[in-house]
Point group: D2
Amino acid sequence: MDLIIKNGTVVTGKESFIADIAVKDGKIACIGTDLSMEAVKIIDAAGKLVLPGAIDAHTHLAMPFGGTVSADGYLSGTRAAACGGVTTVFDYPMQRKGKGIIETLEERKAMCDPEACVDYAFHCIVTDLNGGELLDEFQASVDMGVTSFKCFFVYKKEGMMVDDGTFVKILLKAKEVGAITNIHAENPDVIDLNIEKFLKEGNTSAWYHYLSRPEYVEAEADKRAVHWAKSVDAPLYIVHMADKEGLEAAVEAKLAGHQIFIETCPQYLEFTSEVYKREDGRNFVCSPPIKGKDSQEALWDAIRKGTIDTVATDHCPFQSYEKDWGKDDFTKIPNGCAGIENLYPYMLAAANSGKISFNRAVELCAENPAKIFGCDTKGSLTVGKDADIVIYDKDKDFTISVNNMHSDYDHTIWEGKELHGYPVQTYVRGRLVYDNGEFTGEAGYGQFVKRKAALSGYK
Amino acid sequence: MDLIIKNGTVVTGKESFIADIAVKDGKIACIGTDLSMEAVKIIDAAGKLVLPGAIDAHTHLAMPFGGTVSADGYLSGTRAAACGGVTTVFDYPMQRKGKGIIETLEERKAMCDPEACVDYAFHCIVTDLNGGELLDEFQASVDMGVTSFKCFFVYKKEGMMVDDGTFVKILLKAKEVGAITNIHAENPDVIDLNIEKFLKEGNTSAWYHYLSRPEYVEAEADKRAVHWAKSVDAPLYIVHMADKEGLEAAVEAKLAGHQIFIETCPQYLEFTSEVYKREDGRNFVCSPPIKGKDSQEALWDAIRKGTIDTVATDHCPFQSYEKDWGKDDFTKIPNGCAGIENLYPYMLAAANSGKISFNRAVELCAENPAKIFGCDTKGSLTVGKDADIVIYDKDKDFTISVNNMHSDYDHTIWEGKELHGYPVQTYVRGRLVYDNGEFTGEAGYGQFVKRKAALSGYK
Amino acid sequence: MDLIIKNGTVVTGKESFIADIAVKDGKIACIGTDLSMEAVKIIDAAGKLVLPGAIDAHTHLAMPFGGTVSADGYLSGTRAAACGGVTTVFDYPMQRKGKGIIETLEERKAMCDPEACVDYAFHCIVTDLNGGELLDEFQASVDMGVTSFKCFFVYKKEGMMVDDGTFVKILLKAKEVGAITNIHAENPDVIDLNIEKFLKEGNTSAWYHYLSRPEYVEAEADKRAVHWAKSVDAPLYIVHMADKEGLEAAVEAKLAGHQIFIETCPQYLEFTSEVYKREDGRNFVCSPPIKGKDSQEALWDAIRKGTIDTVATDHCPFQSYEKDWGKDDFTKIPNGCAGIENLYPYMLAAANSGKISFNRAVELCAENPAKIFGCDTKGSLTVGKDADIVIYDKDKDFTISVNNMHSDYDHTIWEGKELHGYPVQTYVRGRLVYDNGEFTGEAGYGQFVKRKAALSGYK
Amino acid sequence: MDLIIKNGTVVTGKESFIADIAVKDGKIACIGTDLSMEAVKIIDAAGKLVLPGAIDAHTHLAMPFGGTVSADGYLSGTRAAACGGVTTVFDYPMQRKGKGIIETLEERKAMCDPEACVDYAFHCIVTDLNGGELLDEFQASVDMGVTSFKCFFVYKKEGMMVDDGTFVKILLKAKEVGAITNIHAENPDVIDLNIEKFLKEGNTSAWYHYLSRPEYVEAEADKRAVHWAKSVDAPLYIVHMADKEGLEAAVEAKLAGHQIFIETCPQYLEFTSEVYKREDGRNFVCSPPIKGKDSQEALWDAIRKGTIDTVATDHCPFQSYEKDWGKDDFTKIPNGCAGIENLYPYMLAAANSGKISFNRAVELCAENPAKIFGCDTKGSLTVGKDADIVIYDKDKDFTISVNNMHSDYDHTIWEGKELHGYPVQTYVRGRLVYDNGEFTGEAGYGQFVKRKAALSGYK
Ligand SMILES: [Zn+2]
Ligand SMILES: [Zn+2]
Ligand SMILES: [Zn+2]
Ligand SMILES: [Zn+2]
Ligand SMILES: [Zn+2]
Ligand SMILES: [Zn+2]
Ligand SMILES: [Zn+2]
Ligand SMILES: [Zn+2]
């Protein structure tokens, strides 16, 4: 064996038990009690939790947006991921007018490959069907291992929105080729109506970012997306769900048997819209904005009940000076926040405090994204799968600060957040990439994850 | 007294009782037993029902559409109305790009006034806010007595659709001035997607009109309209509801206490989408199309429960040769059917057969539209209100035919429909305008109804 | 004419309009504007509301209970009724083991007839089917004009409870003969469990009356009653609904189309369970007890939406010394409170304050009970019906006190309640029985109301 | 190692993967790829499924009922279990008037211990609280490892029913000591009402067994049980759910976050009430009876969605001559059917046909009962747990017949049922107890399972 992690408490989505885990050739070779075979390296994890590495199913690395580029590139972003226990990152390349899907993906793959410190996968954002021709590329995308496409119901003026007809076409074509459609759901016309009104009134602070995209603006688009998915019987994945009403509609459809999957993000679980009243409110500006207490509680309730399927980050940080562009006009604030290194520690700390079980945390951050997105080699500590492993110390205290993060951004909305319990080691395919505060991996070690059909993880 | 109708069974929205009704100066002066005062004219209605005249809250007379004009002008349309027991007609003038509301209304008023055989009112269709300036005319419209505005969520290519932001602006402004917003709810992008597909496949018959606008296409728009009305707390009137899913969403919001009002039409109650498979399917082409059996049953169920508020006709007939334009391409069929003379007889025959009560029929066709649209002088047989009265013979049999109708169209979807029970007389403000098969009114007798604030009928 | 009430604002369940009302031979002869016929008596009601007399569908006069008899007999109870604008009282004779229905009713009729100051009707409480034989009397009861039967799901130890099988038999038989079943819904076993526990713990104050019959104890029985009525498709009238959860279940069934009717009482609308913590908490002891704020709000919400059908009093007062029996043991407090004189003033004051419309108040207190219970001569100001009329002064202030009530009890839970607006006159069949503070009627004037089939008022 | 099962497809509640399983000292020692350690016995399971042994959470062995005793004693019943892949049987000892819980359990343990061929556990049926004293034994029962109690809402005349107050006491006490309450939910009074009616009418066939206990009779009791559990916040396990309406109510409460668990049985999934019209209808008589198609479909729908938690058998067979007692009077038919040997083959065949996944079958028949009932050493193929293992051949065809079953009964409702796929070996704690048609275990090998707190399997 290459590695044996002994005596840890192995946590799966269903149960926790003490066992040893043996790794060979980057795979989990064996799980057992008192494994006595020889190994190159033996780790004692007694008293620690042994968890599957997390999958961050939603990031925007090196993402051009609002006249700049997000502050984390593929190198710093995946380095931070490794240090947060994330062993697979799903990035969102965006197809733009006149470009093809494969072209877009290959271009991004070429950027990412030499830089990736952990494994990575792509969803492809589709903005322009080019009169329908783009749909012909969906099969090739799936063949390449990219089995999910994303649309915006927003960013109309930016030329990124798809209308309902286009969305339905994508839903149907994605289903046909074994892919799933992701949707960013907000309503652009009503946002614009609100923005116009607020700017006219001189209301320009970050608080008006929230007020221009309140709960009902997101809820409408959530409900519409669910409606079309139900009506044409196609699977749907709603990214960054942040509001109660939309959540309830999506959950209702899911419980009625439709293939509706729901993602939320740590920022929606930790903060409320009150942050936008803060001096540094603009740092929290992302879309959809963080909502009120009711929504936050509804999200936690769904987390507990398992009706939310995944937690991912929408990681898209910007530097302070960029955020400052919107000091006097909230519409000029680049949208997005950091999170890639905080996802797993945050959710596991929630488990450690008793808010959810560790099993649920593993489901949300590892098992479910793997199943939904066809990552059949990832997501759980199962014999034969990739040895993507996190060792977690329930007793270690950690205070998040921009100084102890491994990204390239210069501030974080998580500054000062105290976590009880923290990852101490991260392994990607059996290799140690993070060790007690230090990044120990290397750029280029990360591999592209060629995925199976979406939902193939659901038997 | 000018007129006493003696011994009839007076039907209100709540009860039925035998009484005499005395009319003076066009108003109901007195209701009582054995009224013995003198009168110019005394009618014996023993054995007959005495009902308030119906209000057809949805017509398109002299309506330019699809390269032609609807087959009934104001004269023939209101003549037919009189002969069907409709004593007030709500027509739908349409504001078009570059035109103002008052201008539009005055123009139409000038056309209608000399021709109207029964009283009439206007809703104003709004298609272009002219950068918001049009909203400034809403108050003037209300002052003029037009306290309802209508939008389309469809007819996007025709330049008649409003987007969601515009719709919300209209909802808010209408509420502010005491008006109500009417919505025609269908989703244009998905319709276009379907049409494109069907035409490409060579599927061009009327059946594909239905398939391109199936239940879920209407349902989405119904739900969206309800969502915005709820979210901004403004009253909403959904015209020609035809599908079950949208109906259920609207009813759910209504029962939760929101001011959502629902109209359906006789064609949705009588026919199902099967008619589009008929040889003459194109004659039934209207938008939204007639839906399947499930929707028909859900509509009747809501009619019985009182969760549908009104039945109106969407009267918009075209001649056979015009309908024939779409023989080989369903998109070329002018949309619309006749109904103005059939509304009340149809609903009363349903009552006569026991399907609903006569009281419910009166609520749906007279009381409720009067209350919703602020017609405080109309809608019920109440002392002090206009003497708009229909005498109904429960034993009279009638078979609808284009030959016994009083419109100008050359065919009707109602051809051959047998009704048990039929109106024998119609009075508008005390004047007999219809007498046992004969129109006895005159063009120009009808008056414009200056309405109060919408919903003012609800105490 | 015998009487003309001129210039008042006539209020029906649907609308309000100024008119004169003429009365002849105890009936409403005519409603009109400027009635000019001669009359024995002419009243000017300008500026006043003219309303139908209320029907109190739930009283217990001269009711033996808890070792005593309720403090109002038929004379004082109906006198108080007259003074509160109640023109028809439904009392609840109780059939006991070994007695027949007709026997029970005749006995009570004989007691009531010489004393009744307003008209009266009976529901018959059924406690013992005598092996099924009692069901054979249902038809005779209906023939006699008593078309409603009541059961208890509680008072098990007192021998008054019916089990579920018996209840279903009654539902079915009542339906067969054209009657409706009323139910008092609480769960005796769980109440007893709670009482046993509280007494053992030494918790004996009135507050524990509430805690032994909390929301869920009533809700269970409400839901069970609704379940059986739905399952065997029989009409059901739930008396004194006081809790939110049971209400919601009943409303859900009603909206689904089942014949479920719901009554609540003024005490549940005005007070919350907090009253049981008061020094005089025992005076508020009734069953079911008054519930918490959530239930109170749900009841008002249903009142506004019209999903509650009637408001009645459950009038069953006891004297202070009787209430005091339970000073040290809440199980010894005779259950019941006064209300018969407060019902209509309370609900009309709620209307006067804008909480509901006057039309809704009329529906709840007059129209609906008449329709549900087959009182075809009562309940609305309709030509031909009994001239049961209340004249109401919206500007008169009134503070309820035991001193200005017309009952025989010595205290009232309504003491000190200030009402804006108050009835100034009550007419029963055209005769003035209450005039501005004074009872002007006489014992024995009231007549037994021979009712039609239950629900016959619903067309 | 004592045993290695090589190359099989291991099935857990979440995933399936090829691996070897090594067993030592009756426990699962290791799961891995290409395990190369030595072993006493090596089995090649290539091409086969390797599953956790099933837990039949509901049996009545040697059960006195209806004047006889169920046809399978502990020996034959657990022998049959072994041959059907059931490695743990939960039997239902019944406490009767005057007896204590521990006394009852010890008595049954003494009977079972020498006969048990597979492991066994007990739920204790409670019929008489003996004035509350019996509750004092709940803790001792839990200490003994019996952490679930069952009540009947039916069998009132038989003296086995608990009333609602008693039920609530049990719910609360069970929760306090870490146990869960099981309920058999039907309504006795309405059953008796129906029986009385049918017998009087001469309707005595098995069909009337069903008609006397129709859907709504079970639904009422299901809803009531759920109501109390919700109201007092205690966990509840509903046994043998058979009707749609009750199921929906239970699922609604579960999804709202209450600890409601639902069991159904194979007979409700396979048959409909139509069987009671058959010549041999009496053989299918069990309580609750098998319901109509709607309920069957609702049960399968819940099975698929995972809202039903477990499938167990209610195994309680009787001999033909005993069933014949009710030939002319359905009330004389002993209630109960066989199933213990059919449970797992039936559910796995459903998986094999694609109706559900094998993972779901494992959840329903093994993982979930273990989690609900605190069997921490059972229910899944997890390192450290008991080596209760079934090897399943997806290609083996099997036709159920009384001749190839291993019970003592003389007929089976499953006669002739063809299954595609069948278990070929069963291991209990590593020992082979069933081998391709032959029972290879021995009486007395089975051990009593001392359980942890109920629900302790849910993290
Ligand atoms: Zn987004
Ligand atoms: Zn994003
Ligand atoms: Zn329209
Ligand atoms: Zn129209
Ligand atoms: Zn009562
Ligand atoms: Zn009462
Ligand atoms: Zn049972
Ligand atoms: Zn059983």
